[in-house]
């Protein structure tokens, strides 16, 4: 925010300054030229943002008020029916419940694990560079590759997890074909994918914590846990804030790995909101309900982001 304000301030100062020097007669054309130049810079960007970001949202809001199969020439206006249908549909409410578990599991899990890895990698360990690379690697893999790898790992007959379960005398669960295990399985995959990125960002944050704070704490006789709680974690709060918001939004949009690994099943056990929207739109060709569900997701995301901004930002220290 502050950077934008500063830029705006600089611009207005520049304009005032520019207005001071030239004689009144030349003021207008100069102003106009500046203004046109400003437009030339801003309009292309603005145009693309409107076309690719705002217009789809607006059009989606309109579609959510219609009944349309994506092929018929006419979209029938139905008012809020799609919304009332969804909010009274048991399956959709089940989808919301699964989405909450999925998002909470992934966001909390990957934040905790990512931070733990970052703290470990911040220590002077042998082979640290290699481990850092390994930890980050899953983040750059495509969802399709991750899905394929984990389908193999989870395979109850041939998978890599089977011998591990075998060591403790247990049979590997049928991860992706069991309603009980499919959601935990998916969460594990996303944790594996997200952890490395979160660890890397945290690591950068850790290295920015001033050493003198630690020295002062050591002099005061603070133990490692106390130091972490009172210094490291609070000093990482801007990073945490950024990561919580981006991971939450990213997790709501999860799609590719679900498409590859479970297709929302068995039953509806891994149907999260994004998959539900896809299924309504491109399997059932029901654009109205898909758009209404997408609007609900949009609103939920705005609310969550606003809440996070309101409650988390209070606790953020920007040094």
């Amino acid at each position: 925010m502050s950077a934008v304000d500063a830029r705006a301030g600089a611009r207005s100062a520049d304009t005032v300054g520019a207005g001071d020097r030239p004689p009144p007669r030349r003021r207008r054309p100069r102003h106009l030229r500046e203004y046109l130049l400003f437009l030339a810079f801003i309009v292309p960007n603005f145009f693309f943002v409107i076309v690719f970001a705002y217009w789809p949202v607006i059009y989606n809001a309109y579609l959510s008020l219609t009944s349309w199969n994506m092929l018929a020439p006419v979209k029938e206006f139905v008012g809020l029916t799609n919304y009332t249908d969804l909010l009274t549909d048991g399956d959709f409410l089940g989808t919301l419940r699964i989405t909450v578990i999925f998002v909470l599991g992934i966001v909390l899990g990957s934040m905790v694990l990512g931070l733990a890895i970052a703290v470990l990698l911040n220590e002077k360990l042998i082979g640290r560079g290699f481990v850092r690379t390994m930890a980050f690697a899953p983040h750059i893999l495509s969802g399709a590759a991750i899905g394929t790898i984990w389908l193999f790992i989870f395979d109850p007959n041939y998978g890599l997890l089977r011998p591990i379960f075998g060591v403790v005398g247990l049979a590997s669960p049928n991860w992706m074909t069991s309603s009980k295990w499919a959601l935990p399985g998916l969460i594990i995959v996303y944790l594996w994918k997200n952890m490395g990125f979160i660890a890397t960002v945290y690591l950068a944050g850790l290295q920015n914590v001033p050493r003198d704070l630690y020295e002062a704490a050591a002099i005061d006789g603070s133990g490692p846990w106390h130091t972490f709680r009172k210094i490291t974690f609070p000093m990482l709060s801007p990073v945490t804030f950024f990561l919580v918001i981006t991971t939450t939004i990213g997790t709501f949009q999860a799609f590719d790995i679900i498409a590859l690994m479970t297709g929302g099943g068995p039953g509806n056990s891994t149907t999260i909101l994004s998959w539900f929207i896809y299924q309504q739109a491109f399997k059932a060709f029901d654009a109205g309900h898909a758009a209404a569900a997408a609007m609900l997701m949009f609103v939920v995301l705005i609310i969550i982001t606003a809440l996070q901004a309101r409650f988390l930002e209070r606790k953020v220290h920007y040094r």
Partner: protein
């Protein structure tokens, strides 16, 4: 020096901004053509030697052996005449192809011919996007050349909208080697009760340390095979547009499978039952004839023998058909539609139909194909190959709700997953599914009734 340089940089930036805008506008507005505003889908550059011909774009859903076969047919067609150039473009599964056609209609940039599944074509028909094909038959290809049972599945309101191509039925596969080990006869069971008795003899058999089970149910799209089960138990998914999946026969068929999984522990739900059959994790499997080639190859590699038979009987002996066929888009201009028909004529020649069947394992849709030397020999030599053709006598067209109501198949297989994976009683699942199906049907009922 400084001032002009600054000026030129500014004007350059302004100009490039303007250019970007202009480009975007052009991009958004481009792509029109043809009298009704529909342009042809783009693709690869047409080879120079075919540049002067009428270009026909075919979107198909075939990879693997069928993919090779349709590409080869297009190539042979292009070499066989000098007026039409066919470009066959692979678009993913049937569902993905249908999604892309939907998007193409919105973008007004369409292919001319599309291979739709037995479910998908209805949605395009109900929205008046398909061309009736009756008027195109002539000396090049007679209507009577087709297997009439399969052809009739593309007829609605006395007109033909969908032409059979990659049609199949589920057949019964069994592992002869395992059957032999278990002391079972070398044939398919006549009834499902006999099959269940046999499962007791299979129980305890192990291959590579793994317990062999009797069968597996396909997680996605398993509602196609299950429709056959419901019929064999004497029921239906629907009678006309009246949903019947919550009635006793369907519930009994569902309970039968639930017991096999959770009581007998001789079946399970699998991502790919075909792969599990090929790996000898299951001794029998009901799945498409289209998989025969893959099963045979896997069996040879694994040094065991595969057998095929008719799907067993319960109350009735009956199986559904399935698979894909050609639909022609009505908004394609007349000359391209006629050119596209030339390709259909070519595929309908007995020798080409035989080539297609031999390469893919799909049913011969042209009756005369079975008299072509290569196919005739194969049918005589390989009893597995002929099972599907013989089974054509007991096929039945699928239930209307599954065919015509968008999403019906997904609602059904999602319900089946709950039986197979969660051990939810079939009555409870099918009561829910019936409710959803009725709601989905009511939404499109008026339009369907107008079109049938």
């Amino acid at each position: 020096m400084v001032a002009p340089a600054r000026l030129s940089r500014r004007s350059l930036l302004a100009a490039s901004g303007g250019a970007a805008l202009a480009l975007t506008a052009a991009g958004c507005g481009g792509g029109s053509g043809g009298g009704n505003g529909f342009a042809q889908a783009s693709g690869d550059k047409v080879p120079d030697k075919y540049a002067k011909r009428t270009r026909v774009v075919v979107w198909h859903a075939y990879s693997g052996n069928p993919g090779t076969a349709i590409t080869e047919l297009a190539k042979r067609f292009n070499e066989s005449q000098s007026d039409v150039y066919v470009e066959a473009q692979f678009q993913g599964t049937y569902d993905e192809t249908a999604q892309k056609v939907t998007a193409a209609v919105q973008a007004k940039k369409i292919p001319d011919l599309v291979t739709f599944s037995e479910v998908n074509w209805h949605n395009f028909y109900l929205n008046d996007l398909l061309e009736p094909l009756d008027g195109y038959f002539g000396s090049g290809l007679k209507r009577s050349a087709y297997n009439q049972k399969l052809l009739s599945e593309g007829v609605l309101k006395d007109k033909l909208w969908w032409l059979p191509l990659a049609r199949s039925t589920p057949i019964f596969y069994y592992n002869k080697t395992l059957f032999h080990k278990a002391g079972l006869p070398d044939r398919g069971p006549a009834t499902w009760d006999e099959w269940r008795d046999w499962s007791k003899q299979i129980k305890g058999l192990k291959v590579k340390g793994k317990q062999v089970k009797m069968e597996a149910y396909q997680k996605v799209d398993g509602d196609w095979q299950f429709q056959g089960s419901v019929w064999q138990w004497g029921g239906a998914y629907s009678n006309g547009l009246n949903v019947a999946i919550d009635q006793d026969p369907a519930v009994a068929a569902g309970e039968w499978q639930r017991e096999l999984i959770f009581k007998d522990k001789m079946a399970y739900m699998a991502d790919s039952p075909s792969v599990d059959f090929q790996n000898q994790l299951i001794a029998t499997l009901v799945t498409s004839t289209g998989g025969l080639q893959g099963m045979t190859e896997a069996a040879e590699k694994g040094k065991w023998e595969v057998g095929t038979a008719f799907v067993p009987k319960k109350e009735q002996q009956v199986v559904p058909t399935g698979g894909g066929g050609f639909g022609m888009l009505a908004y394609s201009p007349k000359d391209r539609k006629q050119a596209a028909w030339k390709f259909i004529e070519f595929c309908g020649k007995a020798e080409n139909s035989a080539y297609w069947t031999l390469t893919t394992g799909y049913l011969p849709v042209i009756d005369a194909a079975v008299d072509e030397p290569d196919l005739k020999k194969r049918l005589a030599d390989d009893p597995n190959f002929s099972t599907a053709v013989k089974q054509l006598d007991i096929v039945r067209k699928e239930d209307e709700v599954r065919l015509m109501v968008p999403n019906a198949n997904i609602l059904i297989y999602t319900g089946l997953q709950k039986i197979w994976a969660n051990n939810t009683p079939a009555k409870q699942v099918f009561t829910d599914v019936a409710g959803q199906l009725k709601k989905a049907t009511d939404k499109v009922r008026k339009n369907i009734e107008k079109h049938i």
